[in-house]
Symmetry: C2
Subunit: 336 residues, 2 copies
């Protein structure tokens, strides 16, 4: 493996927490090689401050600019040619690294990954895939935000790309595919999902039909397909409600001495739940359908989330997810 390019300036806690994540990742994986992409002096200083070891497996690649959460589409599309995101993705494009990870601006990574890495042969629209924790484990939401307006053929490709990801990376056998919709019957939904339902019935072997919003958390399908708008709303509403209820219980636990004791008694269950809901436990969002591996971490990522994101990226590289998707798209001949 050649290594992973890492956006040092990505996320709310960059660069400090990112570099702490680097340290942890290098210590956890002895075969990991990292290309740290950022303003050279800043990276150098950060490495010293954090005390990163294993420097023989680290290279610094200078990128003087970086995209913020407030940058406009124009800025991260046409402007900032020397941004950490563009330089990092360029390393993948040129074959210098095998993958790229950033906890930065999701829109910027997506737009640039499409432009720089380019879509795979036959892929109309790359899509963002995110694992949502459920009662049964995980369901993969595709598209979680890359394409706000879609056609049925886009969704068909999302279904197959998601299937490859679940089979190869999550190692789920025969993963089921559902359409996020507003009723179980094929007659329910909007124009997009109704047409997609017909298409999926013919061209997605493990299609289990429409999945209503309230069934999503029960893991009713391994892969939840939708346009990027609906997928993003679904993901964010689920995150928001879960976070809010955890906060509610935290406040309830803190009321008085007795409730604090109760919290102690329940601490194992609460920890388990927190772990289940904690995005920092599992990698990040991957952009499926481009020529290379590009993974995006949560903007709030701290060291642990960064470490897990880097290692997940490495795992996806090792499984050659993008090549497997390319193969599958060729086999399928989806006629789109």
């Amino acid at each position: 493996m050649k290594g992973i390019a890492l956006d040092i300036m990505g996320g709310d806690h960059a660069p400090d927490e990112v570099i702490k994540g680097v340290k942890e990742a290098l210590e956890e994986s002895s075969s990991l090689k990292l290309f740290l992409v950022g303003p050279e002096k800043l990276v150098q200083k950060g490495i010293e401050k954090v005390g990163v070891r294993n420097l023989d497996r680290v290279e610094i690649v200078d990128a003087p600019e970086f995209v913020t959460m407030k940058d406009s589409l124009f800025n991260y599309w046409r402007g900032k040619q020397k941004s950490t995101i563009k330089v990092g993705l360029q390393l993948v494009k040129e074959g210098i690294t095998d993958g790229f990870f950033s906890a930065g601006n999701t829109g910027a990574v997506m737009v640039n990954a499409r432009l720089i890495l380019e879509p795979l042969e036959g892929v109309e629209r790359p899509a963002l895939a995110v694992l949502l924790p459920t009662d049964k484990g995980f369901s993969l939401i595709v598209d979680a935000g890359a394409n706000s307006d879609c056609r049925p053929t886009n969704l068909l490709q999302f279904a197959h790309m998601g299937t490859v990801f679940m089979e190869e990376f999550v190692e789920k056998k025969n993963p089921t595919v559902g359409l996020i919709s507003i009723g179980e019957e094929d007659s329910k939904g909007n124009r997009l999902t109704k047409e997609s339902f017909r298409l999926f019935s013919q061209k997605v072997p493990n299609f289990v039909g429409n999945i209503e919003g309230n069934r999503i958390i029960y893991g009713s399908a391994d892969i939840l397909v939708s346009d990027g708008f609906t997928g993003n709303v679904t993901l964010k509403v689920a995150e928001g409600v879960a976070e809010n209820l955890l906060l509610y219980f935290r406040n309830a636990f803190m009321k008085n001495l007795l409730t604090k004791l109760a919290a102690l008694v329940l601490s194992r269950s609460v920890k388990k739940l927190k772990k289940r809901l904690d995005y920092s436990e599992y990698g990040g969002a991957i952009l499926l359908g481009v020529k290379g591996i590009a993974v995006i971490g949560h903007g709030r990522s701290k060291a642990k989330a960064i470490k897990n994101g880097i290692l997940a990226t490495k795992g996806m590289v090792e499984k050659s997810i993008h090549l497997k998707i390319q193969e599958r798209m060729g086999e399928l001949n989806l006629d789109v």
Copy 2:
């Protein structure tokens, strides 16, 4: 007040729980008059079995057919002319009752309310409005499922109809309006929300911009506007996640003697949360924009939910919500 027509066959627990709800509602409100719509003999038997008092405020209206959750659109649109839903709505249409409540098939009530009651002057698309419990109280989702595919002008009307409902029925002063979308900036969203954002900026005085999925539960806007597909997914995902986490805590509480004691200590907080999340506490979904009051309860409604639904319907009738919406639409001259 002339009275409320009630669908005796609506919901999973009809007719028994519905008639229990009738009994409770009549006992709670001494000015309530009910028209029980259903197969006459069945209603008569139910009244005797449950022991409904206040029979001077009850009339039975025979409707031999009823719509099930499995009926097709065709069945509830063209067929079953003598269904409880059609007969009940006809009573409103003819001015025999002031409103209609059903815990039955939502699609059937919506379709028939549009056909029988008809849209208000100038309303392009009636919309389903549902109160979602949040951290701060309630936010109203419009549209929660009546119109899967919408235009920006539809959403503009939803915003104003929702505003009237929040001002008049919930008695919220100057309620704020947000668009459910996937980013805060006006440039984020899909085609529909981006165009709607521009329109709202000009024509909705209390517009607070896009609301992302994770902010919804924090009550970031009093009225959450979206197409019926997105609104329904939002509502159902929120319900599903909340229900699932409550189940998780219930299981955690039941583990052993100590956890049961912990549950006891926390019981006040848990009860408060359950009450907040319990749909049976607050009325139901109202179809805004038709000539009359039509309210739809949760399919799982038991007696208490039916009672609250009936009383909420009565409250909306007393506030003449539909007439106030008609007035507002006239004043606004929305040019759609």
